[in-house]
Amino acid sequence: MSLSDALFTAFSIPFMGRALLVMLVLAVVAGVVGVLVNLRGLEFISDGLTHAVFPGLAIGLVLGGTAGLVPGATIAALAGALALTWLDRAGITPDAAIAIVLTATFSVGVIVVSKSDDYAGALEALLFGRVLTIPPDEVAPLVVVSLIALAATALTLKQQLFRAFDARGSRASGNSALALDLVLNGAIALVVVAAASTIGTLLVLALLIVPGAAARLATRRLWWLFPVAALFAAVGSWLGLAAGFALSVGAGFDLPAGATIVGVFVVGYAVVLAASWLVQRARARRNPDTRPPSGGAARPAVAPAVGALGEGR
């Protein structure tokens, strides 16, 4: 198989084309939402949401078959978004509380799945996704869910950025912190819903975190973060699908498509990381006495310290 076969011709097969369409929509939405996740430091809350969606998927699968996946996940995700917004505002050891919520909901999901007949197969499909076997009539609901998330973020984008950089100023000028948090967590939850039924609950987090982090490395301009993140996610999904196809058909490995996409994401992040490190070194060598200017988009949120390794930089 030639390179262009894997990169272009493969997507004329219906199931590959469908996978690409869904992944591209998801990538753009997740890239935009992911930048806000990064700026607000909501990584762990996103992780909590990915796990909170799991029992919804499981119950939906048991009650309504594969058609029940999206409705079940949506209900669970919105409930999870409410619970996590409340926990975040209650302020009692938020990171431990998130960990407890996510394992508890996940356990409920595993128990529900374990009561169904095809335990191992169903669990793996829910955990690692089934992007290549999306039925045609499920494409529309997934796209709609993603677009609602995109619309919710786009409509409040200015206020969200204000809140990310100056939480007190944002409150003082009349924006409701609760409403903004609910909208953002709801948007994350909807992205998780759409992505969970395609690349699987465990790998959704990559879609939300990696493009935003890569964009932060690539540019210092605030408004460039969104297109860069979306582009990174889109190219990563396309290359991931192509690589999975090439390896599965050409080389005979039976790779799960979702995991391949995430693998490509992480490799892409490593490449961006190395490139930005080299650029910074070259810049430092050219004018050694000037410190690099502080970034236009510093990470502003008062996030719970997770590792003190990088604090104070």
Binding site: A99, L123, L202, V210, A213, V262, R299, G307, G310
Partner: protein
């Protein structure tokens, strides 16, 4: 000793050890870091199973590599510790899934690595968990004062002339060891429940550092035993049952601490007349 008794012993040992280390993790706010470790060790476990060496050894090697990667990413400007944990977490999981797909005929089921199988733990697993628990007790007994100082007052700790990285490294190593040793019982996904929930529950009802360190292992062990018993009584998977038991303890503690906050004792409003004031 039958398999069920062995599972109960394992639940006590692993619950107590994870609860103890979890107290440090929760008080030092390293929960997301611990979560990344639990997920990231998955490819190590898969690779070890494929190579035929012991699963905890593979997970341990993977966790050392992960800590190095996370420390590196966290030091880069505009990235930070949360980004590092998130990337390691998802990257580790994807790598595990890919490895599993590439190596056909693995002797170990993916599900048992992910959600654990405490009913099939070996004596070696129990011995490993017990020694990890003993080492962490010993470490905290020896340098507990420094750990407490650096946990509650990092700035004062530095100002007093101590260096922070040895304490940080000690806690990281204990966290990784505890994650690796609780993998057989509750698996990669639910291990964080045994680390976070008992400590968070203990913290709500006990006021002192020493108290949390004592209460968390007891709660962890109790959650383990209740989970195993419930899994037999209700015929559900043991790993999720243990995680839910730990969550129940947290909810109980949350309820107790809320009830305690209510004004139970009626105190008479002091009425002081001018006469009383003159006499007193």
């Amino acid at each position: 000793m039958g398999y069920f008794e062995r599972a109960l012993v394992a639940a006590v040992v692993i619950g107590a050890g994870a609860g103890f280390v979890g107290a440090l993790v929760v008080l030092r706010r390293r929960t997301f870091f611990a979560q990344a470790l639990t997920h990231g060790t998955y490819p190590g476990a898969v690779a070890a199973a494929a190579l035929g060496v012991s699963v905890p050894a593979g997970a341990a090697v993977a966790s050392v590599a992960l800590v190095a990667v996370m420390a590196g990413i966290a030091r880069i400007r505009r990235q930070g510790a949360q980004v590092a944990a998130g990337i390691v977490l998802t990257g580790g999981f994807a790598a595990g899934a890919l490895l599993q797909a590439m190596i056909p005929g693995l002797p170990v089921q993916a599900e048992s690595l992910l959600v654990g199988s405490i009913l099939t733990v070996s004596d070696a697993d129990i011995v490993l968990a017990a020694s990890v628990a003993l080492i962490s007790f010993a470490a905290v007994a020896l340098v507990g004062k420094e750990v407490a100082f650096s946990t509650f007052d990092p700035a004062g700790f530095r100002a007093a002339g101590y260096r922070e990285w040895p304490v940080e490294l000690l806690v990281l190593a204990l966290t990784a060891a505890s994650v690796v040793s609780s993998l057989p019982a509750v698996g990669a996904i639910l291990a964080i429940a045994l680390i976070a929930a008992p400590a968070a529950a203990a913290r709500l009802v006990v006021g002192s550092f020493r108290g949390v360190l004592l209460a968390a292992p007891v709660i962890g062990a109790a959650a383990g035993v209740i989970g195993v018993l419930a899994s037999r009584a209700l015929a559900v998977a043991a790993g999720p049952a243990i995680a839910l038991a730990a969550t129940a303890f947290f909810l109980l503690a949350l309820g107790i601490s809320k009830l305690r906050g209510l004004p139970w004792k009626r105190v008479d409003i002091p009425v002081e007349t001018a006469e009383d004031a003159r006499i007193a």
